[in-house]
Symmetry: none
Subunit: 211 residues, 2 copies
Amino acid sequence: MVCNKQLSTGEELYIIDENKFVCKEDYLNSPSVKEGSLNSVSSCTDRSLSPDLQDPLQDDPKETDNSTSSDKETTNNENEEQNSGTKRRGPRTTIKAKQLETLKAAFAATPKPTRHIREQLAQETGLNMRVIQVWFQNRRSKERRMKQLSALGARRHAFFRSPRRMRPLGGRLDESEMLGSTPYTYYGGKQRSVKFSLLPVPAPRSLECSP
Amino acid sequence: MVCNKQLSTGEELYIIDENKFVCKEDYLNSPSVKEGSLNSVSSCTDRSLSPDLQDPLQDDPKETDNSTSSDKETTNNENEEQNSGTKRRGPRTTIKAKQLETLKAAFAATPKPTRHIREQLAQETGLNMRVIQVWFQNRRSKERRMKQLSALGARRHAFFRSPRRMRPLGGRLDESEMLGSTPYTYYGGKQRSVKFSLLPVPAPRSLECSP
DNA sequence: TGCTAATGAGGGGTAAATAG
DNA sequence: CTATTTACCCCTCATTAGCA
């Protein structure tokens, strides 16, 4: 409500009058506000209302715009109704193509970055440290999963030659997946792009290889 | 602000203090509100009223307001419907010519807009984000349907020429979205998409190829 | 009535949360 | 940190139902 800052997940903010969201800095800087009802929360639970806040910075006019699609998408979705009863989780931060690229590159170099590196990445991408940490964790996890699976799959198809192409996967991945390459856009974007192209057999999520 | 009900298009609501939205029922039921500020409302009674919040699934808790089937059409009674059953679907938003034009243009550019784009469109057209999302979904669906159909038709009339390949409209074409042609064949399958995908079943639905 | 909003089930990817 | 689970977001496909 004051500076229009885009809060990232996990950041503290204050809610005043039930519907005014103020970032910690502004809250601390505004003595006038400091009384009455306010709740400090550490990961906003509700942000509704469509905000058209523009983040003037973080945008190079140059726009090399690699991958198709537009990027930047600052605000979060609209989604009202926070039910108190159930455990709602704050909005999921969506990692933009650019950031993703940075992270991927970093991951390729060191899958288990030290705190320093993480710090650097945080700064570079503008993402919260925690987010970055989690990203690496999930990424490692994913890799492990894939590795296992590909091993399994490979065994099965041993007599065929290398799996050239894997199942397309129908999820959504527009706007943020796929790094460089794939100049091809049918009218829908990239959807069935390559992503992990080298790995055979994508695993259905619930693989349960356990005996 | 009071019951957290998801308003549907056309429903009346009251705006208090420039930024508090209250549904008609709550407005009428809350004498304290009727004059001036409703700062006091605060407690918000949280959804004790709106029943349809719990949705264990991932779908957004749209107000699936229920009442007995048909013949209903009373005013929206919210609450009280635990007895259930209704399927009353709120009024359908009618998208006006102007808005439609905007959407079509956007669609032509990117059939699968990112959230950011949707947001922009929402603002530009004044439509709800959700409405826009749905519109795109339906539109995509329609396009797919038509494409499939034209392909079939083409095949019928042209099976003298190239028996192997057909190029519906415009020449270049997906091969990526065409569900029928994707050679899925990976073993573990379980996708429902295959079921009727390729069958020459005549469209049960109307198609209408108008632009 | 036909076209098309709106629903709802089913599924994928993955950020975040939790258990160990 | 790893492993597992949740929850959120988005998509398709089939259906239902509102309105011009």
